[in-house]
Symmetry: D2
Subunit: 334 residues, 4 copies
């Protein structure tokens, strides 16, 4: 860690600071220049509170040199992590197609969709049972009954299931769930992350709407620090000033995350019930940019079909995307 | 609600859509122009899922005309809400100074600070017991013991106390707490908000780092929909591209929130352990812009004092800010 | 255009507003509801100043229904525009590779690079002569001499050339330039755009760092309104909160722009001298998402080579990207 | 400047880099740690291109320690700059009220408004002659005639005048203008800034909509590097995700700029034709936070008055704001 001291700081104050830092068991290397004095902090600087240091009157700025994430850091774990979700592998060259409806609605719906997406090449079934909604007056999901219906679909088709958790107290309901999703709005719900770190379930962690990659990795670190290293990262679009699209899919996050971490990275081009006609080009781009998988919304219900198109893909459209994605993957890796 | 239909949409599809909307109990008023067709949805449109409508192939855009928040909306409740926190009033002309340390550390610290801030004009004592930290390796607060120490300070000084909750399961520990704070990162932790809606405690709801005022009010609505109308909103800085300041205090939010809602609005110029030397000008500006209160970090511990200044104010600096704030309030309201 | 009137507005004021709008030659359709009154403005609403209308005390919000861009709008020009740059076509199925160094430095450099990129499949040569730099103390480019050297390279290799303009007064120097680039920071330099609208040269318009797609298209409209319809749009990354990457390439802009406009869209994955090792995955993703071309920085100079890699690609790396891009395009369009 | 070398970089490459940096006349101090090697660059590092350095394969990150702005930097010029605009002082304790209409429309209008704002305490007259508009179809201002009318008002009332320039070629028209404004969208129009640096006129430089304070100061530096040190900075709102307000006024920029630079800082609470009813609270807050002046839109025309309120203040409202601002300034500085 490097701390730049403000010009004109009395020597006595600098000495006080150095002896305080040293008392925390961290060595300090002092280098004095004409316009500034720089302190190099050497050793286990994780004990040093950057916010506190930066807030001191005499400090101009502080820069962490080593990343604050350890378990998720590729520097210390060069090989790709492969996450196993009920026999389906993600990462390290294994590409996974996760598909299913936005919300679980009825038994007929979820079983029909799971059959269709499996035929079209999906390996994992997704479906929302607990739904995070901006408004308390909007439909909040079928909850426990939704998970029951997903389990039914799993028994029918053999596909492992992925669904979102919103409260640690619901954890007992997730026993039969193969992969637990943490939604974008809960990415920094640290108590939930800690609890998931104590489970043995693979976790699908979605990036927050306005979070940096470092914050994203620190949230993965919360889960891993508890002993659960089965974490898959999911880019699902960030908030920008653009209004034509709901969010902006950040595909540059994929190669950057691959540099920073050994964890698999999947992409959700449907981004929180987005625009169906943009799912295909964004799915192809995600495959081309190096994602380890895709998470795509697929529906089969008449209400959506009514107006000939909606926010999710039909099973037919999904089959087309699935086939094209294979072509792009082959062109990229040939 | 107004929905604009895409140019060239076949009449049959528009008719299908209209009959589907009508079947939800909402009237549709159709107006056809040369370049577009506009549907006016009249009645209780809260049943209509805007995301679903917007996602339809044939829809160009959708605009909600009435605000999605009801209980928090000033249109339906023109008078200012006054929140009573253990006898201290906030809102409707009552200005509250909330002060105390970032983290509760020791009994001596919290009692000393509470005495000093009370003398200087503070009416409520704040202090962190559960601390949300980006890194799992950072200090997470004294937790239950921290709340115990706050209660001790309350007994000594008679000041009502405010502290943050991070998990619904901790609620039993908050029995003696007068006002429960929801932190910025939990602003959309909907399960937590619902549970707090079932309590009778005043809630201090902080705005998320990248959330709009509408989302902020929808989170207040989650609490109010449960029956708890004692909500105070807190602007604490938003994320922008600026790097010299940690966050950007959005003071224009104060008059805008006063237009939109009857709930009190306080401002936290220390913004999550920010820069001490900027607290005073921002506190004065918050008073001038019409805030119903301020939440300010004050410390007295030697570690901070060591380098002559840190992220929190000293009791002496706080007393100066408190006096100046009074002057500004008088100048504004005279 | 739709204007929502605030609840409780006296009828007289609404009548005054309607007669004022009518006096501008725009018809008003009034619809009154329980909670709000909505005015539908019909006719040539381009005469109405949205900012003015929105600023009125009695107006709640205003929504433009028809897009404010006309010449660039796909609704009125359904067919793809094909821009011809010295015989090289862009758009309408024609994919263009634009390559060359960040800055033109010497005759040897630019001729060597242009030969190498032509061999590898590039059809247009780029190179910076006038360089927009954040600091007045940084190198500002070779200016007129740089354009001279580009022309020399064009004579040698036959490749049409693209270079950036920063001041309308430099226009006479661009006579031999085939395509004039407008940089991101000048996207809303309206006087420059107007002047370029009076030329007959193809324009490569880069998206501003924090501009929406609507603003981007309005800037294209400035050029087209002057009579020059040869505009190619270039997505080059937007500003987000992320700090690991300089900017965030917005690939979802490509399919969205293709919906909104008939103009060709190219992507610059090197984004203003970015990170070389991310150029390849982002270039492949841009091809997969449907871009009409790529603009890539390529260097050959020893200073860059010194440390085995730098922000631009080497000619060898560019040749690899070029070959892979062909593979992806084939997989997408087969 | 500090450059962190990537872990595992061969010694030979580090040596190559050091000798290249040394050849630029900058000394390198090498410090090797267990996990990383850090290079300290000492001397005139303004010659080093941070972008180039950061782009090198072997470099992890680069941090500039000294600010890239020199002339604008308070470190080298501790005393406040006082800018004199036709006898009216701004900065160093001199508070200036700049007022006038958004656009100059007629002689009667500008003379009437200038008389009224002068009576109410304004010391400088503003008015738009050249108007930057997002759409080429919107009114672009009276141009030369507008400047003529402003000059007329100046002759009548004796108030110095401020108006915006959009093109260096218009400079001859500004001979009688006392202070030249650079708009937010031209903040990084570097050719314009350079040309203004060669004039002797005071410049009012507005902050770009999505620009950092460092970029803002670098743009001031462009003007000052040319020899013109009469620069006043103007905060006018930045782009955020909020939609209820057009932009978000960043009042924390004022104390931060006062730390970083000796140049005066004024605030424009009307932010590019904003919401009239928010001008007063934001003006008071700007005075409280330490601004050196305010720039406020005032109108007197019947078209605005028609609907009883609009985006600008009436002369009466302005007089009220002016009086209250005096009260707040007294309370803050007493």
């Amino acid at each position: 860690m490097i701390a730049v001291v403000k010009m004109g700081t009395p020597k006595k104050q600098i000495d006080n600071l150095i002896s305080w830092i040293s008392s925390q068991g961290v060595m300090v290397h002092l280098s004095e220049g004409e316009y500034q004095t720089v302190l190099g902090l050497i050793g286990d600087t994780s004990k040093i509170d950057v916010d506190l240091l930066e807030g001191l009157e005499i400090i101009d700025s502080v820069k962490r040199i080593s990343e604050p994430f350890k378990s998720a850091n590729r520097k210390f774990h060069p090989d790709d992590t492969v996450v196993d979700v009920g026999g389906v592998k993600i990462g390290g060259g294994n590409f996974a197609l996760i598909a299913g409806p936005c919300s679980v609605e009825t038994e007929a719906q979820i079983i029909e969709v799971s059959r269709r997406v499996k035929e079209a090449g999906a390996s994992l079934l997704r479906g929302g049972a607990f739904k995070p909604r901006t408004s308390p007056y909007d439909f909040q999901g079928l909850k426990a009954e939704g998970i029951e219906l997903l389990s039914e679909a799993k028994r029918e088709t053999g596909m492992p299931i992925v669904t979102e958790i919103m409260d640690v107290n619901h954890l007992p309901l997730f026993e039969n769930v193969d992969m637990i999703q943490v939604g974008a709005r809960n990415m920094q719900n640290f108590e939930l992350l800690k609890e998931l770190g104590r489970t043995k379930k693979p976790i699908l962690l979605k990036r927050g709407l306005a979070n940096t990659l470092k914050e994203f990795l620190m949230s993965a670190e919360y889960i891993m620090a508890g002993g659960n290293e089965q974490v898959v990262l999911c880019e699902r679009g960030i908030r920008t000033f653009e209004t034509y699209t709901r969010n902006t899919l950040d595909l540059s996050a994929v190669p950057m995350l691959h540099e920073l971490t050994h964890l698999p990275v999947v992409v959700d081009p449907s981004h929180a019930c987005g625009i169906a006609r943009m799912v295909k080009p964004l799915a192809l781009a995600a495959a081309a940019v190096g994602a380890d998988g895709l998470m795509i919304e697929v529906h089969n219900d008449p209400m959506h079909a009514l107006c000939d198109g909606a926010q999710s893909l039909t099973p037919e459209q999904f089959a087309d995307v699935s086939a094209r994605v294979k072509g792009v993957l082959a062109a990229v890796h040939q």
